[in-house]
Amino acid sequence: MADVKALTAGLEGVVRRRLGAEGVGGLARVSAGATQEIWRFQMIGGGAEVPLILRRAPGGERVSPTAVGLENEAALIEAAAAAGVPVPPVRHVLQPDDGLGRGFIMGFVEGETLGGRIARGEAFAQTRTFLARQCGEILARIHAMDPTPFPQLRRSSPAELVAQYGEIYRATAWPRPVFDLALRWLSDRCPPPPAVPRLVHGDFRNGNLMVGPDGVRAVLDWEIAHVSDPMEDLGWICVGSWRFGVDDKPVGGFGRREDLWAGYEAAGGAPVRREHALWWEVFGSLRWGIMCSGMAGTFRTVDPNVERAVIARRASETEIDLMRLLAA
């Protein structure tokens, strides 16, 4: 693939100039994410090979309007590291004269990200006994981060988020009565704007956590971080779509809500009220459902990839989750 050849040549230059290495090898695409390219490669130097990850805007330049931008994402990851959050080390943020577009190079962290293995695999049976609590502790550290160095992050109150996702849903022009029911339920019970808005990760869930037997080794995918009610993150990780079949472990299919909340409070997070957390879990299910259903339009217009069609049809799984939350 010409793509791989050109990128290898570009990366050779970057690691020589910026990281004092001699070359690169084994460049391979890890994921064809819609908003980011993720590549794995070996940095070669001094007789050793160091595995690294390149996260890059698709084609180097296309930047999603809803994402924070790759330079900001790298800065967020560095700030998170300073706050004691496990993250991959950022090695280099691409500069215009690197000629590779926008993105950054980070260390490769060994572990498992596949949600089903973390939720059900025998190798993680012991890990699952403390993982939910540990996630609560990590979220408390994220929410203690100072958002002021990141003025570009979107700031939204709960009511604004409900209105924003309501608009996205209505723009699809496809009636989904269960979504209307949920939007109405959320509006009727909407919490006030948080007294202290916090930096939230925005996509903290099973699937975005690099997990080893010792627990969470790195929190990944900071591209939709924003400033909001901190309970948003605590609800999102409980959404049914990331339980991987383990219904009685609402936290990512690996733990109990009570353990998540206890870890959060013990590490300095604000006290959790059950109905407040439930509101955010309902919001999270609806948000994921609206994100899925939006794939139908993208599939028809700009990217007729079969995977998009299948994700679009996952919207109905959030409808059954919402029915179980609201009408059971």
Binding site: A32, P175, L181, F244, G245, V310, S316, I320, D321, M323
Partner: protein
């Protein structure tokens, strides 16, 4: 009259080929995408089989619930409007039953293995 085999039989055979022959013969992204393609075909086959009677029952429930006529898209748009306005809600007789039946019918096509669907089937009172 078109000849046999029928579309549902052909879709099932192509899905089986993708999943059992093509996917194991490849690796990485290509193998993954072949399984996604097999899933998409199986979903389409289920829709051909299950949707006609389910859509008819859904429309009948909606006409009863809303007291008006129209095609399925119009009826659903009207239900959406009334739920959004709060004119109908889960306390309205028939609304919860209708939404449950409709959602279960969607899952039977989209993802009959989804754990939440399985759990809902187990929890619901048997008719």
């Amino acid at each position: 009259m078109q000849d046999e085999p029928k579309p549902d039989e052909i879709l099932a055979a192509v899905a089986r080929f993708l999943r059992e022959v093509a996917a194991p013969a490849t690796t990485g992204h290509l193998s993954f995408n072949l399984k996604v393609a097999a899933n998409a075909l199986e979903m389409s086959r289920r829709q051909l089989e299950l949707d006609p009677p389910a859509a008819e029952a859904e429309a009948a429930r909606l006409r009863e619930l809303l007291g008006q006529d129209g095609d399925l898209a119009q009826l659903n748009a009207e239900l959406s409007l009334r739920l959004a306005a709060g004119a109908l809600d889960l306390a309205t007789p028939g609304v919860a039953e209708h939404l449950w039946a409709t959602t279960l019918a969607k899952l039977a096509v989209d993802q009959p293995t989804y754990w939440g669907y399985r759990a809902a089937l187990a929890e619901l009172p048997q008719e």
